[in-house]
Symmetry: C2
């Protein structure tokens, strides 16, 4: 059961305590992450704010990263992204660009995934603190582990470049809705954009790089 | 004299009528573009709303595109972008990706340019109508003429792909402020990203393309 699915049935007023506890944890998490950032907020403090035991927080949300993703509605399949890079570093690295892009496109094709993604972008663009939280989360949870799996001195730069192309594709396709990209079939996008991601992740990055 | 520069001295209260007229035109333009989009708003109607002659509108803002850019603070050096593509199509097409990226990076390095760019992004992300206006403006004023200059059946797709990489780089560098891209020197970004733009504009776009 995902955290998001678990929270819904409990929202019926007074119907069951576990749902209330989950909602209280999510509300406390939003406040704590907002005030202290991803790194500064602790499971212990969030549990205390919500009036529950820390073990219950971990029962509902397996880790601080998963709690953050649920509280902030971060539409990143954290495990999937990590697994992608880990699998790729085990041999299939020539397909990493395409695998990453297909994962992202699948999130956007799902209306909930797309709404969550747009919500995250909207918060980051509107509010510097939300942008800082998102950055910290991306780095700690996604990019640094992925960079370790990818290896190489410039792995973080490579992942940030890949992120720039992915974010921009999302903005042009789903915010500006610029044709022909807005209604392009995923295979068309993969043909055009996966080679970019592959070069950013594993290819030569240009002659000026020191 | 650019419209932006021209508007400032006139803002001193009651000091001179031309500044007031200019401010009235800009206010009327924002309302008209907001209600009718870029295509539906006319210079004549904007002039009538502002209580001035249409010729005065064109005196201050040479064209509807320039008026839109001034009213919406669109940080796109319209003439520069058009000239870039036109120059490139005259022979220097192998450098178009780098020339385009250096032009954009120069806009972002300027604090006013960056603020205007972020304001435009914020509006488009927060509000569907602003996103639609921006799209219509981009297509009518920038992308279609650029596509004609670039030529080829898929020129609009190529330009939209280039736009996706440029927008994403702006979001990662100046909104999320993700390192090492946030503080990368322009030459580093050019080395990594210009080949992407060049491929989108003039290179092969992948085997799946029909």
């Amino acid at each position: 059961m995902s955290p998001g699915e678990g929270a819904r049935p409990g929202r019926g007023r007074g119907r069951r305590a576990p749902g209330d506890a989950e909602a209280a944890i999510l509300a406390a998490a939003r406040r704590r992450f907002g005030d202290h950032g991803f790194g500064g907020a602790t499971i212990r403090a969030i549990a205390a704010d919500a009036g529950v035991d820390p073990a219950l927080v971990l029962h509902y949300f397996r880790s601080k990263a998963d709690l953050f993703a649920a509280a902030m509605q971060v539409p990143i399949p954290v495990d999937t992204a990590r697994q992608l890079v880990e699998q790729a570093s085990d041999g299939d690295i020539g397909q990493l660009g395409e695998a990453l892009l297909r994962t992202v496109l699948a999130v956007w094709e799902d209306p909930d995934g797309r709404a969550a993604w747009l919500g995250m972008l909207r918060s980051a663009v509107a509010d510097e603190r939300a942008a800082a939280m998102l950055r910290e989360f991306l780095v700690d949870v996604l990019l640094r582990p992925a960079a370790e799996a990818l290896g190489g001195a410039d792995a973080e730069r490579r992942l940030a470049l890949a992120a720039s192309q992915i974010v921009g594709l999302g903005v042009i396709r789903h915010v500006v809705e610029l044709e022909p990209l807005a209604s392009a079939p995923p295979d068309d996008l993969v043909a055009a954009v996966a080679p970019t991601l592959q070069r950013y992740l594993t290819g030569p990055l240009g002659p000026d790089r020191r």
